[in-house]
Symmetry: C2
Subunit: 212 residues, 2 copies
């Protein structure tokens, strides 16, 4: 009977995967660059592939703008209505996530931090998920500014340093490669996932499934 209980527990245990939105599934940087160039066509800008800081302002602030007030307007771009709603997809991300959710023994949740200026970003993240993944995914979206509070076996996220109230989060961090982290050496137990298109995510998920 003890053995039966053990088997039962094992059979129920699923791999819990948390997936970030911005710059993991939704192309924040690309859209920011587009909106910036649309608004300031005569100002210098940073092409997505040359972006190398997590926060946009840290790098844009070093540019020599013709009109110096531009540097104080940067945040307004992503704090504007429809910015988050209109983010394009990262190549292959939504297809991969939908396929992953169909894998046996795998549960997928989307885990995203809204801006502190939540007015548009909070509802528009729901809107994005509903549009690009489908209405059922409204039930699988978690909004939190502290991802250490979320349960999971893996968190796939482009932000390299994720801290919060829990010193030891339950998840293993898989750094999703993005321009902002391309030059960062991923240390410790962290892994990298470079894209959603070459199929390596499948092997990675299968490997994690074996380990739980």
């Amino acid at each position: 009977m003890a053995a039966k209980r053990g088997i039962g527990s094992l059979a129920q245990r699923k791999l819990m995967v948390l997936i970030d939105l911005d710059e993991t599934l939704a192309a924040f940087e690309k859209h920011f660059m587009f909106k910036f160039r649309e608004k300031y066509p005569n100002e210098p800008y940073i092409p997505v592939e040359k972006r190398n800081t997590f926060y946009i302002a840290d790098q844009y602030d070093k540019l020599n703008f013709t009109d110096d007030s531009v540097r104080f307007e940067l945040k307004k771009i992503y704090r504007s209505e429809y910015f988050f709603r209109d983010l394009p997809e990262i190549d292959g991300g939504c297809e991969a996530v939908k396929e992953m959710a169909e894998m046996e023994g795998v549960e997928v949740f989307i885990c995203s931090s809204p801006l502190f200026q939540y007015k548009y970003s909070a509802p528009e993240k729901y809107e994005w998920v509903e549009k690009h993944l489908g209405p059922d995914w409204i039930n699988r979206l978690i909004l939190t500014r502290d991802k250490t509070m979320i349960n999971g076996d893996i968190l796939i996220d482009d932000k390299v340093h994720i801290t919060g109230a829990m010193n030891s989060p339950s998840w293993k961090h898989v750094v999703f490669t993005a321009s902002n982290n391309q030059n960062v050496k991923v240390k410790g137990e962290k892994l990298r996932l470079d894209n959603w298109t070459d199929g390596t995510w499948r092997t990675m998920i299968e490997d994690f499934k074996k380990r739980i």
Copy 2:
């Protein structure tokens, strides 16, 4: 050195408390009744203290309305703009939560499920928390339709049956007494918290602190 490490870990371990919004801190039922009576002054209604189902429609649906179309309009009340923003406070809740967050060795997060019709409820929950608890609490609000995915030692929530993707959530459920659960016998390991005003919450939190 081993002992030192042990002490270090113990010293860092805090009691993680998750607290629900609707009907635990925010008076959903009272506001619904107010809005319903405002809209349908000539229709029968259910006084808050007689509400005895978790979902409003389950009980209101049994009333004999003069105009039968009323029963199809119920959900529109809480799906409307400003419904969640304007919820009054449950007596003593916000004061208790702020005091709890100041206790040594305790971390408090607000954990709330937005409506599937998220358009107003998602941003207005942030608005409510900002207004009633303060802007810092934006960082401590977690929106999720599956609370089993959230890490914590305790979840204080009026909903008696909380299920989700995790069969064994990390938290112990403390049922916050509300009209909808007043006749429900709380089973198993669950506790009850009857109010935020008689100070029993402090003893409860201190007891939990001793057990982690």
